[in-house]
């Protein structure tokens, strides 16, 4: 099979990039795989290119490059095809519309895979007939804006399949949108087996990792740890990760740590890549997010043999952790419950070791080879079925596109009206 992935930016760092690289690298063992990155802002992929995968880009944002595209007039005009409700909309332009269109119209692949809503929409509008169309959703339907939900609600009817990373999200797509004939399948993210030996769970450290972002609720974790230290002052907490363009809680967390007098017990370690060797320094992992569209760090910690205490937040944790067997699930935002669960594992060496071993065994189901097989199976089946759009009448596609254009116009009008109302109210 020739499979072509369309990625926002293969040269940065992020969960979608890492997951796509894992999947592409795994599929490349048996298939012809390419990753097409809309943007390129640095010479080498920060996460290292997956072996055996062809990489290319459409828009060059390297300032020193002779093919730099950032100054193009077309790049200053707002995109008309890329989904407006996608949170990356502002980075897209008439230039990206055209470059992506040219790529998709000439694409000689068996399968084309979009990796974010804006690009999935672009595939439905611009891909030539032929390739099976897959729209991957790495976030969740309920985290999308109203506008984006409306957009994908009619555009996604021209996909062959949507893959989500949790079953809960797949249910949301099945029940929340009317997408007749579109396969909706949940396939979790793959996490490779660590190179390092598993944790012995005998250290006195709790480990957490993720961007220092509000949604991760590290404030809850730090408060919980104040309760832990009050009982077990010999235990300490490391939080790995840095801030990014969407938020940086570092200063606020340092202030909170100071206020609670935890400066000898809680440490913000900064961003570490690869993270793999950090997990075995701990005996317990903790995740206190308000939401996790999947929960990659939970699986990473489990693969290293750590029991994870996680909030039972939407959507991922409860599909990864079997509460009481290979980790603990606690209510969202409840520092006391987090502290209780952590202390439970601290005080019971036997349970901690047993859950660590169980976590390591249970997390093998996320091995990239197994995950890639599921994607491969889906693609193969859709190709065999002949892809709905091979037989799609030009008329039906045309009707859809016209309906889409009308709806687009309606949303734009409604948006303007809303703006006017809000302004009126403020004045």
């Amino acid at each position: 099979m020739h499979i072509s992935f369309l990625l926002h930016n293969a040269y940065g760092v992020g969960g979608t990039i890492r997951t796509t690289f894992n999947l592409a690298g795994q599929l490349a063992e048996h298939h012809d795989i390419e990753i097409v990155s809309v943007f390129r802002h640095r010479d080498a992929p920060a996460l290292g290119a997956p072996a055996g995968v062809r990489m290319s880009h459409l828009v060059d944002l390297r300032k020193k490059s002779p093919t730099y595209d950032g100054d193009a007039i077309e790049h200053t005009r707002p995109a008309a095809v890329f989904a407006r409700g996608d949170s990356r909309y502002r980075q897209y332009s008439r230039l990206t519309d055209a470059r992506v269109a040219d790529h998709l119209r000439s694409l000689e692949a068996d399968v084309v895979v979009g990796t974010r809503p804006g690009l999935n929409v672009q595939i439905t509008r611009q891909a030539r007939r032929g390739p099976v169309r897959i729209g991957q959703e790495h976030l969740t339907l309920d985290s999308h804006s109203y506008r984006l939900r409306r957009e994908i609600g009619h555009r996604y009817t021209l996909l062959d399949a949507i893959t989500t990373v949790t079953e809960a999200d797949a249910r949301a797509y099945r029940t929340g949108l009317r997408l007749p004939g579109v396969r909706i399948e949940s396939i979790p993210n793959g996490v490779p087996e660590p190179v390092v030996a598993p944790a012995d769970c005998d250290s006195k450290w709790v480990i957490a990792a993720g961007r220092l972002h509000k949604v991760k609720r590290y404030d809850v974790l730090v408060r919980a740890f104040a309760d832990v230290v009050a009982v077990r002052p010999d235990w300490r907490l490391r939080i790995y990760g840095g801030g990014d363009a969407t938020g940086d809680e570092r200063q606020a967390l340092h202030t909170l740590i100071g206020q609670l007098g935890l400066h000898n017990h809680v440490f913000l370690m900064g961003s570490v890549n690869p993270l793999e060797a950090e997990w075995p320094k701990g005996a317990i992992a903790a995740v206190t997010s308000d939401r996790e569209s999947f929960g990659m760090t939970i699986v990473e910690a489990m693969r290293c043999g750590l029991p994870v205490v996680a909030t039972d937040c939407p959507h991922g944790p409860r599909e990864i952790i079997d509460d009481g067997t290979d980790g603990r699930l606690v209510p969202v935002g409840d520092a006391a419950a987090v502290a209780d669960a952590v202390l439970g594992l601290i005080d019971d060496d036997g349970t901690r070791h047993r859950m660590g071993r169980a976590a390591r065994a249970a997390s093998r189901r996320f091995d990239p080879a197994l995950i890639a097989e599921r994607h491969e199976g889906l693609y193969t089946e859709l190709i065999r079925r002949g892809g709905r759009h091979h037989s799609h009448s030009a008329l039906r596609t045309g009707v859809h596109r016209a309906r889409g254009a009308v709806l687009d116009g309606m949303y734009a009008l409604r948006h303007k009206a809303g703006d006017a109302l809000r302004k009126g109210r403020a004045a």
Partner: protein, 295 residues
């Protein structure tokens, strides 16, 4: 508008043979595992070089390169081992690979560094006659592999820091020295040894403890941030000004704790904020800075 065709990314230059995974042991031993380069075929004679940084053109800092033979481990990798008994001077040692029959050296990129054995090291004070030796493989700012080494004999390891109403208290562990009756700690402002200021140190059985007031009597006016180094004088003030043991924190896997070990600042009487901190070399300091006024 015309749309250019796809621009392929040229395949990344092969880094095989140059990415090294490391395993560090508590006794100072480091195992380096390099992916073997197919082109070079793992020719015998390849060497992993460690070279002390900052010695170029400096006769006062001479250190022989450490040459570690790379041998195939049968798993498609090349392995070099730095024994715990090897002597490496304190500093930063950059890693290079030298192929037989070539003059050139290639830098080594850090792979996965398994440093779990370094976390919370508590060497036996009686077993450190030769001094405390710490070696941490780490990624440099430009993405290369280096080894941060400390060799301290004697050594004063800082531990928890607590904050009282007027003073902060540092507890630590002393290796290779005994506290005398007059033992003291000396805070030395960078560049102004005459303004050094001392406080008594207590402790026994290898531990030490001292309290330092936020209002240092010799601080003078603080108009710009000042960094005061903290030295332990186990024999008392006779070693004042020059001698003494630098108080550091080096017995774990953190090669630069400047931004990780952050302590809340306390206001002194003179509109000055005082806070302990660590330098990028893991030395304990006291930072004084004027209170920022926003009105």
């Amino acid at each position: 508008m015309t749309v250019p065709a796809l621009r392929p990314t040229p395949p990344a230059e092969s880094t095989a043979g140059r990415v090294a995974d490391c395993i560090a042991d508590a006794d100072g031993r480091i195992t380096f595992d390099l992916l073997r380069d197919r082109r070079e075929g793992g020719a015998p004679g390849a060497v992993l070089l460690l070279r002390l940084r900052g010695t170029k053109g400096r006769s006062d800092r001479v250190a022989e390169d450490v040459r570690l033979p790379l041998s195939p481990d049968g798993d498609g990798r090349l392995r070099a081992v730095l024994p715990g008994t090897a002597e490496l001077a304190e500093g930063r040692w950059d890693a290079w690979v030298q192929q037989p029959g070539t003059d050139g050296e290639t830098a080594v990129e850090p792979g996965i560094r398994d440093l779990r054995a370094l976390v919370d090291r508590t060497p036996d004070p009686g077993g450190t006659v030769g001094g405390v030796v710490v070696r941490i493989p780490y990624p440099t700012a430009d993405g290369r592999l280096a080894v941060r080494c400390w060799v301290r004999a004697p050594h004063a390891e800082a531990g928890p820091i607590t904050f009282g109403p007027a003073a902060m208290t540092v507890d630590g562990t002393l290796y290779g020295a005994e506290l005398g009756d007059d033992a003291c700690v000396e805070a030395r402002p960078a560049g102004h040894p005459e303004r050094s200021c001392r406080a008594p140190v207590t402790g026994r059985d290898g531990s030490f403890s001292f309290s330092l007031p936020y209002d240092l009597p010799t601080a003078g006016p603080v108009t710009a941030p000042q960094l005061w180094e903290l030295w332990l004088l186990p024999g008392g003030p006779s070693g004042s000004g020059t001698g003494g043991i630098r108080i550091s924190r080096i017995l774990d896997d953190i090669w630069d704790r400047k931004k990780i070990f952050v302590y809340p600042p306390r206001a002194t009487t003179g509109d000055v904020l005082a806070a302990p901190c660590y330098s990028a070399d893991n030395d304990l300091c006291l930072r004084l800075e004027p209170v920022q006024r926003h009105d």
